[in-house]
């Protein structure tokens, strides 16, 4: 029930409503809970409401994880060489 799906804002209807798309599916959503929405913004939609504007991307999160993992693996290799 707490499922929220990322959507992209494709049209602003008024102060509190917008059209957002998830893949080919377009829906009207409420934007009362997020501020400064623009076309192209990515938002998380739950039960017809945008609950947060997404900052950055999944790709960036993956990159930062790779960095952390590289550290873990380097430590591991170092301890294996001992």
């Amino acid at each position: 029930m707490c499922l929220a799906v990322p959507h992209e804002i494709i049209k602003i209807l008024d102060e509190n409503r917008a059209i957002a798309a998830a893949g080919p599916v377009e829906v009207e959503i409420r934007t009362d809970m997020v501020s400064d929405i623009s076309i192209g913004d990515k938002v998380l939609v739950h039960a017809g409401f945008a609950i947060e504007k997404l900052q950055g991307s999944e790709g960036e999160e993956i990159c930062s994880l790779w960095e952390e993992l590289r550290e873990v693996m380097e430590n591991e290799n170092a301890s294996n060489r001992k």
Binding site: M1, C2, M33, S35, H46, F49, I51, E60, V72
Partner: protein, 368 residues
Amino acid sequence: MKTPQTENKEKIVPILSHALNSLLEEAATKSITVMEVCGTHTVAIFRHGLKALLPKSFKLVSGPGCPVCVTDQSEIDAAISIAEREDSIVATYGDMLRVPGSWTSLQECRARGRSVKVVTSVTQALDLAEENPDKNVVFLGVGFETTAPATALALIEAKKRKLDNFLVLCMHKTVPLALEALANSEELSLDGFLLPGHVSVIIGLNPYRFIPEKYGKACAIAGFEPFEIMAGLLEIARQVIKGEPTIKSMYPRAVRPEGNRTAQELLDKVFEPCNAHWRGLGEIPLSGYKMRPEFEIHDASLRLNIEKKPSPLPTGCRCGDVLKGLISPIECPLFGRACTPMKPVGPCMVSSEGSCAAQYKYDRKGQL
């Protein structure tokens, strides 16, 4: 076609798993037990077979993070009693439809011609109230902090639009205090919590601070992709092994440390905390929401004089123990026999986010 990003996402999962295995092996830790709190996490873990990638000494148990599942039997019965009334239309999210009450379900009420409408947003219930001025339209307010702000907004709008026939049966609950009950449990002896991503979008990090500070449990907030869940579990293992419990968000693109302030203000304007009954966990003080006096005109319990009477659980159903993480679904004697998704006995088999439904769909024999 796979994009480089999809490939990266797929590649990183086994590497995270390898890192987790190495970490536990090196630390020679006896075992780590972590509760995934959120029902959406439970389903994702089953769907992607993530348990198979965990070290044997890393135990993952499901918690009370499916709002429909933790809705008390007395609340289900109260919703059904409203559906039985001639003067009311019940508007509900679809998950509630098939949950068995003590004598029937909302779905059966609907089949008998009672007015039960499925909505995907509370705004549709507002529209129903406008279209049916001679009926009470009763929205079933189920859900955690993720869902409750939308109900708050609808109540503000109902007041503005003078829709006095829009009522809410308020069953909303808040997650952090339920976690306190679980963190305290000696039966469970948890080392950490994988915290729910979308509840955290609303409340931020602060409401969970007591978990590491008072109870010494490790915490990570995670999104719902396999790599995000594995990264969350790895983070928890690191905290446990280092003996430095804290809260780390592994879902920074969605969760701001302070949460969504607008949503928090909506909650605060419309609701105040009240004691709430959780299936399995019993009454937890101040873990629910009730409407503030200025919104009581929309309170279905008061307007329709609905009593929430204690109701016994179905015989043999162990949803309560499943929700507390004390047993896995397959340990329930009814699982897969008397209780199946086609003919559910308890709510954990009904809801798409229920642990029993997820276990039945993805790992019926408990092989993972």
